[in-house]
Homo-oligomer: 146 residues x 4
Amino acid sequence: MRGHPPLTPDELARACAEAMAATDLASREMGIELQAVGPGRATTRMRVAATMANGHGMCHGGFVFLLADTAFAYACNTYGDVTVASGCDIVFAVTAHEGDELTAEAVERARFGRNGIYDVSVRRSDGELIAEMRGRSRTTAGKILS
Amino acid sequence: MRGHPPLTPDELARACAEAMAATDLASREMGIELQAVGPGRATTRMRVAATMANGHGMCHGGFVFLLADTAFAYACNTYGDVTVASGCDIVFAVTAHEGDELTAEAVERARFGRNGIYDVSVRRSDGELIAEMRGRSRTTAGKILS
Amino acid sequence: MRGHPPLTPDELARACAEAMAATDLASREMGIELQAVGPGRATTRMRVAATMANGHGMCHGGFVFLLADTAFAYACNTYGDVTVASGCDIVFAVTAHEGDELTAEAVERARFGRNGIYDVSVRRSDGELIAEMRGRSRTTAGKILS
Amino acid sequence: MRGHPPLTPDELARACAEAMAATDLASREMGIELQAVGPGRATTRMRVAATMANGHGMCHGGFVFLLADTAFAYACNTYGDVTVASGCDIVFAVTAHEGDELTAEAVERARFGRNGIYDVSVRRSDGELIAEMRGRSRTTAGKILS
């Protein structure tokens, strides 16, 4: 990026997200959209498809995790360094159902050394809490924009 | 099931798994197979598809979770009572890649009151550890076989 | 409490905290002080004693947990119902040392059914993050004030 | 240790434990005893003192954590490298009471890179499960025996 003025934190966050989204087939396949991104923050959205539910229309918790994990991945990769998930804890509050519109909002809680902690709340469109995830990240030596 | 001799624990576990599998569209869609099931135990298998990976062929951690969570769900539902995940913690050890054959083995660690703890190890076909999940379950009043 | 006007949420939180503190020998023994309490919130403070550290003056993580867990216990017991910890996850950021003044601030993140989630940040007096705990609570049928 | 034959894994584990115990004032203060240690394993024991309980004789969960965390610390420091806890998740099963004899048995589940996962079961002397902890460790560059 020689010859260009340095990016602002917001511009860097968006550039990182665009670079990640360009190769993120998995999220696209699941119909996960990135709604917003900023330094240490990201929001994703997904509609619970019939293929994510059991015969009773109840969404498999794994897809709720997938949505939350995607928000977490975007949020922790907004500073330019390739950052990976070292672990996550998720608490399931209410079961989501086929057709529900879910939003996952990831917010950075702390960074220390190469580690980060991100809180992700998954809510239904009426505001009902579906799940709370806490992600633990670890920054690698790689750069997202190169 | 009046008029029939009671099921053995192994028969009950298999009957519960069959009842769950019959409505589990999500796992089928992901290509997740149930390999083995017994009282408090279950093993699932999945091949990492291109749609589960990013442009560099690295598998999204969410699909590793999904595989582990499916093994957990089968394992904690082997006693006849409808049992749900109240939460899970996953630690990611090594990144899986497109084409990898992954196996998740869920084993019950403890049950107390209506709660259960299940340990799930996800491994690649060469035995390499991919992730370790610990699931927390809660038994409801519902019955799987009715 | 017949014949008295109902307590405000803040008064109820303080009354619950006083009732708990009256029997909480453990925290007193450890020199843990309750600094502030309100509905779904509590702050505790502790000085790292020589007996909490190893020969190199490094505080045993268990005492950091104890401080955080005490803030969590007060915070989730501010509504009048006896509430217990069902589990906790703690991430250690920086090692505390003998003589450090530590503060744990517990804030409610969510409540659903009989369950609650509380985030607890432990900081040194200069603001350095020592640990982040997330507590999972469960409300029982008991009443704190009776 | 030049001039000496190399230690066996069991001898190394015991030597590391002795070096740690020599400076571990905190555990001694709490009456925590190391009962057994081997490569990737350790067992600790503690009697619930009156000062660890509330006025109803119920043991503060933080002391159960402390016992489990001590077993975890010994278990992950049996290979010669200074290893620290990066985090822990604990699930509380049954409340311990004043006078209970508790045993925490820590067993290594996995090691990958500089990371380790240890499972710790805390039981009462009659075998009743009190808590299950999972510890996450990280190896540093330091050596325990030097």
